[in-house]
């Protein structure tokens, strides 16, 4: 029967072209939706890697402060001590502008055995940065005050970068070249990945550099971890304290709010995309339903004939559903050929598993859609009275 259906479909390929195209386009749209969803889900299911709760970021303009680096260092050391002495504050750390959930991004490149690694997030952080986020180290150690004045430029890398550079081997103590390989950086520790861009985006590769004296003039951000019970009254006191200290504009942001906002930046476009795709799928479903219904009405004579020569109602219904499934299979084969290029070519640098899972889900979805749209017309075809169908023809 399969061979017979293939022959029938092949001989009617021109009439079936619209159906095939409709399924192909639907598959590609569904594949895109599922690729996004799988990608976001895979990222979401990975641990966040740090504790953002009760972390605030004080952003200020330091333009009015002294330009002398040594004086600045003393100023910042004193400021850190003053903040830490407040009973509501647990930890204090300076940070570059690209702290987690901020909209800033700083990247650099590294060279390892002549191979370039680009788009590595480059964090410049204070000594107590790790304590603020409570991030575990997987290997080696975190920065000590002496690292700032060390002969080597000491860095901490994250888990992802360690895997890219050294695989499963130990990274601590290894030297790697900077972006132009003019300077050697010594890895002193490996930190667990942190999803700094939101729950749905990957951690990516990252290096952490300690803030040195020369960087203080670029320091505009202080990360503080407050204790339970630190409320708006304290926030107001803190604001006044900082405004008086830096004598300039100050802003206090809560990291939990920034996280929500960052996640929304991913969720909202995705929801819009899903809604648009859903409308498309509804249209496609109605289209499929219409095409199948039309085909059945057009093929009443054939259905009557088949009933006359030995097809039961069930086998007529089965034949029509199978025809739709075979047509869908042809479209899906073409669709999978195109979709298969994404994992093969590592498009957008997304793991192949994302595309493969998305392909499988899309195939299952299309089969369910076609099955759903063909069952009722198939059932109606089974109910066509053979004598009436033959007479109408």
């Amino acid at each position: 029967m399969f061979k017979h259906l293939f022959k029938l479909i092949w001989n009617k390929r021109r009439q079936n072209f619209l159906f095939l195209s409709e399924i192909l386009v639907s598959f590609l749209v569904i594949f895109a939706v599922f690729s996004f969803l799988t990608y976001y889900y895979q990222n979401y299911s990975k641990p966040l890697g740090f504790d953002y709760k009760r972390v605030w970021c004080i952003t200020y303009n330091n333009g009015e402060l002294t330009k002398n680096n040594d004086s600045l260092k003393i100023f910042y050391d004193n400021l850190q001590k003053a903040l830490k002495s407040m009973p509501q504050i647990e930890e204090v750390a300076y940070s570059g502008a690209n702290y987690p959930y901020s909209d800033s991004f700083s990247s650099t490149g590294l060279t390892q055995n002549g191979k370039k690694f680009n788009y590595i997030a480059n964090y410049t952080v204070g000594i107590d940065y790790k304590k603020v986020w409570n991030v575990p180290l997987l290997e080696g150690r975190w920065f000590l005050p002496e690292d700032v004045v060390s002969n080597n430029k000491n860095i901490v890398i994250n888990e992802t970068l360690k895997k890219q550079l050294f695989g499963n081997a130990q990274a601590t103590g290894k030297l790697i070249g900077n972006y132009d390989e003019k300077e050697k950086l010594k890895v002193i520790g490996v930190m667990q990945d942190i999803k700094a861009s939101g729950d749905f985006l990957p951690a990516g590769s990252a290096i952490f550099n300690p803030i040195d004296t020369a960087f203080h003039k670029y320091t505009h951000n202080i990360l503080i971890k407050v204790r339970e019970g630190a409320d708006a009254t304290f926030e107001s006191q803190l604001y006044k304290f900082m405004a008086n200290t830096v004598k300039n504009a100050v802003e206090i942001k809560h990291l939990d709010e920034m996280r929500n906002s960052k996640n929304k930046q991913t969720i909202i476009p995705m929801v819009i995309f899903i809604i648009i795709a859903s409308f498309l799928i509804i249209n496609v479903a109605l289209g499929l339903f219409g095409v199948l219904w039309y085909n059945i009405n057009k093929r009443k004579g054939e259905i009557g004939l088949r009933r006359a020569i030995g097809a039961s109602g069930r086998s007529v219904s089965y034949q029509l559903v199978m025809e739709a499934i075979i047509l869908a299979t042809i479209s899906l084969l073409v669709g999978c050929f195109f979709a298969g290029q994404f994992p093969l070519l590592s498009v957008f640098n997304i793991p192949a598993s994302v595309y493969i899972i998305a392909m499988l889900l899309s195939v299952a979805f299309i089969y369910l859609l076609v099955l759903f749209c063909s069952l009722y017309p198939g059932k109606q075809a089974a109910n066509i009275h053979p004598a009436v169908a033959l007479h109408e023809e």
Binding site: R306, A308, I309
Partner: protein, 221 residues
Amino acid sequence: MIRLQNIEKVYRTDTVETLAINGISLDIAKGEFLSIMGPSGCGKSTLLNIMGLLDEPSKGNIKIDEQDISRFSDQKLAKFRNQKLGFIFQSYHLINDLRVLDNVELPLLYRTSSAKERKVLATAALEKVGLSNRLKHFPTQLSGGQRQRVAIARAIVGNPQIILADEPTGNLDSAMGNEIMDILINLNKNEGTTIVMVTHDESMAHKTHRLVRLFDGSQVQ
């Protein structure tokens, strides 16, 4: 072979009730070639559909090959039609998207036979109707007479005991009609196939063993 007892067929709509067959009883013996004649709308095709188990009578009883088919399920009826009955229609009812050979193979698809077996049987059936040189053609590439011969090949491919032909020569000129009639006569004579044929053509009807005339749903001869 076919026994119809007091068959009635009523078509009902919300407002109208039409009596298409009115108490027809008919016995058709094995190997008989029977023709049914009558004016348009007298119930000839309805009667043939009832004999072919394509339609159910409103009243009465049908026995085919000694089997009471009134209690058959849809599945069993389909199997029975497939094994015992062959159909020939005035408008051929060929599937234009299938080649001649595939059209003839159709009844065998609803049996458990291999592709090779189907091909052998279909080719043999087409040889019987003189179309062995048209296996790969599509129906649209054939003349009316050739199409009807394909339909006959399809009807006989499963080696049925009964062939029901609804105006098989109705769409053909007299030469072609005679050709088709000769094939049916030969089938009846050589294979012993029981044939029931509906026709409007007196000359064709007189070539059969027995003629039944209907008028307004009743048998008049």
